[in-house]
Symmetry: C2
Subunit: 370 residues, 2 copies
């Protein structure tokens, strides 16, 4: 701990010549550190200047640049780390962050407190993939939502998360919803004979997020859902550090950081490294083949990144969503392996046999635990 | 107050036919509300469904869609408002938010506590444009930064803001930096015979942001700088509501929401309406003609939007930056008018005559107050 002097960032630069790529790399190292011409930086601040390690061609229009930043300009502030990674250059075109070297994360961030093993322990499921559904729609009363949660539980679902649009609306206030849903779920477990976990959505103002989290813990919630891009990413880390109950991170509002081909971050870096390092025990991502636009290759690579060795952080449970229905589950289990939480929302509500029966079918497709 | 039943959002949709545009509008209204097929929404939640007001052609490849959302799904939670505006659809291509109708903002948010008049009162300057510079670079000690602040103050600068990369680094910890800079500025004012305001950067973890803000207030800072996209946007609103000292909002990390042509938000909506409604008294934006890529027309339109009548919110001071040097100031005053804060950083440090003299020249170009 505490031994890194530099943190290394790998960029993809859109440029049609070495000269332009090198100029862009030079702009980046200045923009993300001293923000002034090198010739005006006083001697006593020269050690704040990053070094350009290399600029190498990737293809005709893209170059890879590696820049090494002195950690003294971050100095243990995780939000300042995000600023150094992408603060001002977020306003420039043609710069995409591909990777950050591992070592420094360990000194700055603590990663998931539960991760895959921790969530499996809550559910007492050792090996098979997990099921998850979304409680919705917004507008139902707390007791109506609780009725649905009861049906999902009787069907044997592993995790029920709130739809991320359920906040503290008067139709089903946070406290009333969590209280009633937990009661309905604990009662449903008596019928299913198995555990079902409830992750209510705590996303709200950064100033009240921690107290809403504490309320969820006090009411007996098994985990929480939050949208780091709305609460501030480090807010997730503050919650993770309490190690009370696991976090499922939702990608709402984060699309612009991962969708553009020539700017933002690679999905693997943004969700798979950054969000994991900032404490997400599980991360929802838009799956290929659904209403979102990520490729199968990208999704497989992201799924792997969340679980691969990374510093001393616990592996993070990938939660593909939005492109999965009951029929496609066997295909995706083959692609992703067992350490995946399959989030199926809409298609369970569509089954004419009812929520409970649809959930039972969903569970069967995940196989037995062993 | 409290009378809106709906909030209306105007989208630009990338689509090559009316049919596709209408389908995309339908996807949006579902994705941003109930997130399930309309035929599976229970009767008791039908009132959560938004209405598509219109879909009309803009040009060959773009359509304008107007969708009206019931405010019951937001229910006074500003972060949930952001989620309804752009949560899940941030993960889709081809959707850009152009505008949101004014009425609802008044019920949800309080806007700037100081605004243009409040900042002018602090400085006792009635009419002329204001000057601002950035204290940097990171890596200097608190006393070195204070020495620079003193020179700027002697030159007569109106506002000194921290570079947004100054956090709580050990080279110049927040408390030490603010203490020494304020002392140096108050002393410099004795020479200049005029007021200089100091806005230290409080951007940090959402969990500690409020206490850092309070520390800035207690130390006697005249305002603060913060990056809402790093702290969580509603964190800015929580600070604005205290009405202690004004906020200068910095666009770090926000580029992906405003740069893409076919996704995100229009600059006018994002900075000019949203950030203003969330409490920014002044907003830094990357000016045309510099190292960033926004057009002159966009910058003029944004500058106007910040100051135009909008709900009962105070006007917000536009702070163009990044494309301004001493020579171009008269040009930009002609474009923007007097209610603008000109942020000149790097080029003041470059002047061979020294910071104090460069600042005095800068001040002269802004003319006399009357």
């Amino acid at each position: 701990m505490g031994n890194s002097t530099h943190v290394t960032v790998v960029y993809q630069l859109a440029a049609d010549s070495r000269n332009r790529a090198e100029q862009l790399a030079e702009n980046i190292r200045i923009e993300q550190s001293v923000e002034m011409s090198v010739d005006t930086v006083p001697d006593s601040a020269l050690s704040s200047l990053p070094d350009i390690v290399s600029v190498t061609p990737m293809d005709e229009n893209h170059w890879k640049a590696v820049i090494s930043y002195p950690v003294s300009i971050i100095d243990k502030d995780p939000t300042q780390f995000l600023n150094v990674l992408y603060g001002n250059i977020s306003l420039l075109d043609g710069i995409k962050l591909l990777d950050v070297n591992d070592d420094y994360f360990n000194e700055l961030l603590s990663g998931p407190s539960f991760g895959i093993d921790g969530i499996r322990k809550l559910l007492k499921i050792k090996n098979r993939p997990l099921s998850c559904t979304a409680l919705k729609p917004v507008g139902l009363s707390a007791s109506e939502l609780a009725g649905r949660a009861h049906q999902f539980t009787r069907g044997g679902i592993d995790i029920i998360k709130d739809d991320h649009g359920l906040a503290n609306q008067s139709a089903a206030s946070f406290k009333e919803r969590v209280t009633q849903c937990l009661k309905a779920i604990r009662s449903g477990e008596q019928h299913s004979g198995k555990r079902t976990c409830y992750f209510p959505n705590i996303t709200t103002s950064p100033a009240t997020l921690l107290s809403r989290f504490q309320l969820a813990v006090d009411l007996g919630a098994d985990g929480v859902l939050l949208c780091p891009q709305l609460t501030g990413i480090e807010a997730m880390h503050e919650i993770a550090k309490t190690a009370h109950i696991p976090i499922m991170a939702h990608p709402a509002f984060s699309g612009p950081y991962v969708i553009p081909r020539n700017s933002g971050f690679s999905m693997e870096l943004y969700y798979g490294k950054l969000w994991r390092a900032f404490g997400a025990d599980s991360i929802i991502y838009p799956n290929a083949g659904g209403r979102f636009t990520f490729s199968k290759e990208t999704c497989i690579s992201l799924n792997r990144q969340m679980k691969t060795d990374f510093c001393n952080f616990k592996p993070c449970f990938p939660v593909p969503a939005g492109g999965i229905n009951l029929h496609s589950i066997p295909h995706w289990i083959a692609e992703y392996g067992n350490d995946t939480i399959f989030l199926v929302g809409g298609s369970l509500y569509k089954q004419s046999a009812g929520i409970g029966q649809a959930t039972a079918t969903f569970q069967q497709m995940l196989g037995n635990d062993e």
